[in-house]
């Protein structure tokens, strides 16, 4: 579909919202524009209405201020009206995300009561502007009011406003009962002409929700039905707030605001006119002007001259804070325990194999047989040497016969035989020795090689034990680092606690320490027994009276704790002391940054350990391979030599 807004072609970009009657798209190349496209082809009534709205805008450009007023009509190629372009809001939150306390603390953590009153004033201003031009919003509800990135309210769904063109009235046709005045309850919206006074009711409900913590002024009575309660004019918030101490009492707001709400929700307002947006604007602006910061808690805004801070009172009756406390609550921490990184590291460590076990070394195949053979060779007598044997025998015989001749006293022949005989024999022995020397050397060599083979496994084991010992150290160090990493959450909390403990003025702290509980004039709720409990728990001076330290002590019920805390607060005021401002966001950021740096350091050390184990294991495995190969080689050599020598033995030759 090609679209044209009368001036140029409009290219639709991503869908940014959808409603009952159409879609809202971004406009390509126009970051400040949005286009609403109807799902069904608009009828003549709607086309006329849009044309008239665009004309009105030319006369009164202020209509598009904080309002998604149709600026130009979008037509397709055939000239049929398909939608319109309007201002696009950069980031938008429906107003209920501001007035709903819990959501506010998340989405608008810095919003105070003053913020709420100021937004209320701006809403009144928008309505005032529209009413001046005869425009009635009609379908007032919490989804048609959005807050932009600056927290300014905008009315959207402007094409459903009720617009007057001379005698002709373009009706709104719809409405939400929660925002519908009693006189219109149960009436069919499709035929009703709304008046500004009807709008004023819806506006007042919206303002009420902003000022009174998201509460609807009509609680719905027994049947829970807001429409019925409005029809019966049961504006019962003042009674409900009296019954429930944790609701903001009507009296917390200035008289003019209270009166205006009474008029807006009472029967009188229906007949004689409810407060106009202009009046609201004035009252709310001066209300916002009057709000100051509570002396005890920066997040609390208190009307000037109020005797007590309503928020402190509420927080004392219910452990719930309607506003994010300054500093800590307003600080949206980006710190995370990084458990994913930790898990990743632990997984890496667990999946990295430890260096091989010293006992895994296997001796090469057939080692036993080779060793047995070598041993047999070593233990075997050396091979015989036949020629030298004969020489020795000859020498022996000669010497023997020489000896015999000596007995027969045949002098020269004895001499001639005995001397040379011994000489020949000696020569025989020496010859044999000379011939056996290489053999003995070979046996010695064999012996050395045999021992090398036998002790080869020991070599490996010694090496492996070293790696295993280092690996145990690695594992221990790693688990220590893991614990420290896990402990970072607690450590960070300690730092934050310390930061917050230090938030009290030292002079005031000293003054409070000078007030011993024993002699102090404590609230009546603190009986002698309770006083004893406090003293026993080392709560001895006013400085020790801190909510966190009191909670959980035996016999100290919540009202007693509150009484004590208030007593201390009264003292603080009397001493003219003031708590130091709560820690600044920067201080929290510093803690988080610090924790982050520490964590990263731990992670680096852990990664280093993983790498070290990987290297150690790889080295040990390589070593194992290498040693095994050498073992195999040694054995082969031993085998070769033993077999050769064995053959020599078998053939009896040296």
């Amino acid at each position: 579909m090609q679209l044209h807004d009368g001036e140029r072609r409009i290219e639709l970009a991503a869908e940014i919202g959808r409603g009952g009657e159409g879609f809202v798209h971004a406009v390509a190349g126009e970051p400040t524009l949005a286009a609403k496209i109807y799902t069904e082809m608009p009828g003549q009534e709607r086309v006329d209405k849009l044309s008239w709205m665009v004309q009105l805008l030319r006369r009164a450009p202020e209509l598009a201020e904080q309002c998604a007023w149709p600026q130009r009509i979008l037509r397709d190629q055939e000239g049929r009206v398909r939608g319109f372009v309007m201002t696009r809001l950069a980031s938008q939150h429906p107003v209920h995300e501001l007035y709903n306390p819990e959501q506010r603390k998340q989405t608008f953590p810095k919003a105070s009561w003053r913020t709420l009153v100021e937004v209320a004033a701006q809403c009144a201003r928008i309505f005032a502007g529209l009413h001046t031009h005869g425009v009635v919003v009609g379908d007032v509800n919490e989804r048609n009011l959005l807050l932009d990135g600056l927290g300014r309210p905008w009315l959207v769904d402007a094409d459903s406003f009720q617009i007057r063109q001379g005698e002709r009235v373009y009706l709104t046709g719809v409405g939400v009962a929660d925002y519908t005045p009693p006189e219109l309850q149960g009436v069919r919206f499709s035929q009703v002409v709304r008046t500004p006074n009807h709008d004023r009711f819806g506006l007042a409900v919206l303002l009420f929700k902003l000022v009174f913590m998201g509460r609807h002024p009509f609680s719905g009575g027994l049947a829970g039905d807001l429409g019925a309660a409005i029809a019966a004019s049961e504006f019962d918030y003042p009674q409900v707030a009296q019954r429930l101490p944790h609701l903001l009492p009507m009296t917390a707001a200035p008289g003019a605001i209270q009166q205006s709400f009474l008029l807006a929700f009472g029967a009188e307002g229906a007949e004689e006119g409810r407060p106009s947006p202009q009046q609201w604007l004035q009252h709310l602006l001066s209300f916002a002007e009057e709000l100051e910061t509570c002396p005890v808690e920066d997040a609390h805004a208190v009307p000037k001259g109020a005797s007590r801070c309503p928020w402190c009172q509420i927080e004392a009756s219910l452990h719930y804070a309607y506003f994010a406390r300054a500093g800590r609550d307003q600080y949206v921490s980006t710190w995370a325990p990084r458990t994913d990184v930790l898990e990743e590291l632990c997984r890496a460590m667990a999946t990295t194999a430890a260096p091989p076990d010293p006992t895994v070394y296997e001796q090469p195949l057939g080692q036993e047989q080779v060793l047995a053979l070598a041993q047999r060779v070593i233990r075997h007598d050396p091979p015989a040497h036949v020629p030298s044997y004969y020489v020795r025998v000859l020498g022996g015989l000669m010497a023997l016969s020489g000896t015999a001749f000596l007995a027969q006293d045949s002098g020269w022949s004895a001499k001639a035989l005995l001397g040379p005989g011994i000489g020949v024999w000696v020569a025989g022995v020496l010859w044999q020795r000379g011939r056996l020397k290489p053999w003995q050397n070979a046996v010695q060599d064999l012996q050395t090689r045999l021992e090398t083979v036998v002790h080869h496994g020991d070599l490996w084991r010694a090496e492996a034990y070293q790696h295993r010992a280092r690996d145990r150290q690695i594992a221990e160090a790693f688990s220590l680092l893991t614990d420290r990493h896990l402990g970072m959450v607690a450590r960070r909390q300690q730092e934050i606690d310390k930061l917050e403990r230090d938030a009290i003025d030292p002079a005031l702290q000293q003054a409070l320490e000078q007030v011993p509980l024993l002699q102090a004039d404590l609230p009546p709720a603190v009986t002698q027994d309770r006083k004893k409990t406090l003293l026993l728990r080392q709560i001895q001076t006013a400085a020790d009276v801190e909510r966190d330290r009191l909670v959980g002590l035996p016999g100290l019920t919540l009202p007693v704790i509150e009484a004590l805390v208030q007593w201390r607060q009264a003292l603080e005021v009397r001493f003219g002391g003031r708590r130091r401002p709560r820690p600044k966001v920067d201080q929290y950021v510093a803690i988080d940054v610090n924790c982050g740096v520490l964590q990263e350091g731990l992670e680096q050390q852990m990664a280093e350990l993983v790498r070290e184990r990987q290297a150690s294991t790889a080295y040990a495995e390589q070593m194992l391979d290498h040693l095994y190969q050498r073992g195999v080689d040694n054995l082969a050599e031993l085998q070769q030599r033993s077999e050769k020598m064995w053959l020599q033995l078998r053939h009896g030759t040296a």
Partner: protein, 223 residues
């Protein structure tokens, strides 16, 4: 002083939006075991996701889960969608449908008391019952209970039958036409339920919201 802190005060101080309570009454008898229960479980998870995506519905719709299989159990007490964790369903035992309905309606009465005590308005509660069998306890009392709450507009009771559910009984119990689930279209059913609750929670507490017809040709149910 007459001031007191009612039950759930913090919850409603933190989020005072009107509540749209819905009790899911789920048959977890032995016959639901297997694929049926698995699909139902997936449907529940999707139901939560769907409603979580709607900024207003997540603060208004409150879910409680009552299961009946062997005995009647409160598997999950009322909680806004933001805090809703779908319970693990387990199939066992017979089908005490009658007392499951009675329990659910009591639960609603008590919850409405809490809303009123905290000055928070509410929409007409929904009871959404799902069964694949027939009651084996005394269910005749349930007929009157359901008729009473429907006539006085205190709650809307929907009955959905799966497989071989006894529609004769369902027709007697529910004032509204009971619906029969097509196959195991639990996800489609919960899609419809979350859409319906979304439109209800966007409306006013007093409005009747027209619901999409679940028994259309694309729907998850047949009549």
């Amino acid at each position: 002083m007459s001031q007191s802190t009612p039950f759930g005060a913090v919850e409603f101080a933190a989020n005072p939006e009107p509540r749209c309570p819905c009790v899911l009454v789920l048959d977890c008898s032995a016959s639901m075991a297997g694929q049926r229960l698995q699909e139902l479980q997936k449907g529940l998870a999707q139901f939560r996701e769907e409603l979580l995506g709607d900024p207003l519905a997540r603060k208004r719709v409150e879910v409680a889960v009552v299961t009946f299989g062997g005995s009647v159990k409160l598997a999950c007490d009322f909680t806004t969608i933001e805090h809703f964790e779908p319970p693990r369903l387990q199939a066992e035992g017979l089908t005490p449908m009658g007392s499951a309905i009675a329990t659910s309606l009591e639960l609603l009465t008590a919850r409405k008391q809490v809303y009123r005590g905290n000055g928070v308005s509410y929409y007409r509660p929904w009871v959404f019952m799902l069964t694949d069998g027939e009651p084996n306890d005394d269910w005749h009392a349930a007929i009157h209970l359901v008729r009473d709450v429907e006539n006085s507009k205190q709650a809307a009771v929907f009955a959905v039958g799966v497989g071989e559910a006894n529609f004769e009984v369902l027709r007697q119990i529910a004032v509204r036409q009971p619906l029969q689930l097509r196959g195991l279209m639990f996800r489609e059913m919960f899609q419809w339920l979350s859409n319906s609750l979304k439109s209800v929670s966007h409306s006013a507490t007093s409005e009747e919201v027209p619901l999409a017809n679940p028994s259309g040709p694309e729907g998850w149910a047949k009549v």
